[in-house]
């Protein structure tokens, strides 16, 4: 049986649902670092990640035992130094976006550009709140400047099964590159 440890980052704009997604699927209590929002974005939500989230998920079947170490980033651009810190040694990243707030797509694009400039590990775009906002994913893909081969997965970050789909897709992308350290 193949045993792998995979480091995944969850990035994306403020209030996309990054902490929620990691909390939904982690097997351990999530290590979160939240502070109260003090500016006008408080209208969107009350607390925000200032350093990182950390969670762990074990995925196993007959052929594979994968330990997924998931690191969530703070969303606001002022914390972009943490994107660089947390991405050290990552095997892949999820760009989480909020399909119900198209006004955040430009910010998502600039985050994606930041990560693509920094690393060429595989990434998956996840479109949160897709069931209540069934807009075509092509609008998101266009806004992010993705061509045909970009992977966009619809999801509900609060739902464990749906969130698992996202990281499972990510895991398959990572394994297909065969760059993961096999222990």
């Amino acid at each position: 049986m193949e045993v792998v440890t995979v480091k995944l980052l969850v990035a994306g704009p403020f209030a996309a649902g990054k902490t929620t997604l990691i909390s939904a699927i982690s097997d351990i209590p999530v290590v979160a670092t939240e502070a109260e929002v003090s500016d006008e974005t408080r209208a969107t939500k009350l607390n925000t990640t200032v350093s990182m989230d950390y969670g762990k998920l074990t995925v196993a079947d007959d052929d594979l035992h994968a330990e997924l170490l998931m690191f969530g980033t703070p969303g606001q651009e002022r914390f972009s130094f943490m994107w660089d810190v947390l991405s050290e040694g990552m095997d892949g990243y999820v760009l989480l976006t909020d399909l119900s707030r198209p006004e955040t797509f430009a910010e998502a694009r600039s985050i994606l550009d930041h990560f693509r400039a920094m690393s060429d590990v595989p990434f998956v775009v996840a479109a949160n709140r897709s069931s209540s906002h069934p807009e075509p994913l092509s609008a998101l893909a266009d806004a992010l400047g993705l061509d045909q081969d970009g992977v966009v997965v619809p999801c509900e970050a609060v739902d464990r099964e749906s969130a698992k789909e996202v990281v499972a897709t990510m895991l398959l992308e990572v394994l297909s590159r065969e760059e993961v350290m096999v222990e």
């Binding site: 290590v31 979160a32 670092t33 939240e34 502070a35 109260e36 929002v37 003090s38 500016d39 006008e40 925000t48 990640t49 200032v50 350093s51 990182m52 703070p74 606001q76 002022r78 914390f79 130094f81 943490m82």
Partner: protein
């Protein structure tokens, strides 16, 4: 160097002049300090005396250091977070809890007397915490 007012929150809270005075006090009483930042716990500047070109990132970094340190202290059951010292060969960044809403960050050169710095900055942090209740 004059104390800069915040800009990121739109309008300055009424406590800002008192916080600025506290910052000047730290500067006056602790030698080898090169900058003082008071930021919200979510990383926006409230008042500082840093050059304007790097104050936004300093505020965010101070909140990140405090947020992570708080979590570390909690994890090991060490009580409420008080301060964290980041020391490089040539200088310090020390972050202090200033109540639930704010953090105090002090930049100092490698020659700074850390004991004296703590003495001055802890009092300042406690004062800021009272101002922002």
């Amino acid at each position: 160097m004059s104390v800069q007012e915040l800009g990121a929150r739109g309008s300055a809270p009424e406590e800002t002049p008192a916080i600025q005075q506290t910052i000047s006090e730290v500067r006056r009483r602790a030698p080898d300090v090169s900058g003082v930042m008071v930021a919200t716990s979510d990383g926006l500047p409230l008042a500082h005396d840093l050059p304007p070109d790097n104050h936004l990132q300093t505020a965010a970094m101070a909140a990140t250091a405090v947020g992570l340190s708080r979590r570390i202290v909690e994890t090991f059951g060490h009580g409420g977070f008080e301060e964290a010292v980041v020391r490089g060969r040539d200088g310090y960044l020390v972050v202090y809890s200033a109540g639930p809403r704010a953090v105090l960050a002090v930049l100092a050169s490698g020659e700074a007397n850390l004991g004296l710095l703590h003495h001055v900055a802890r009092r300042a942090a406690s004062h800021i915490s009272e101002l922002l209740v």
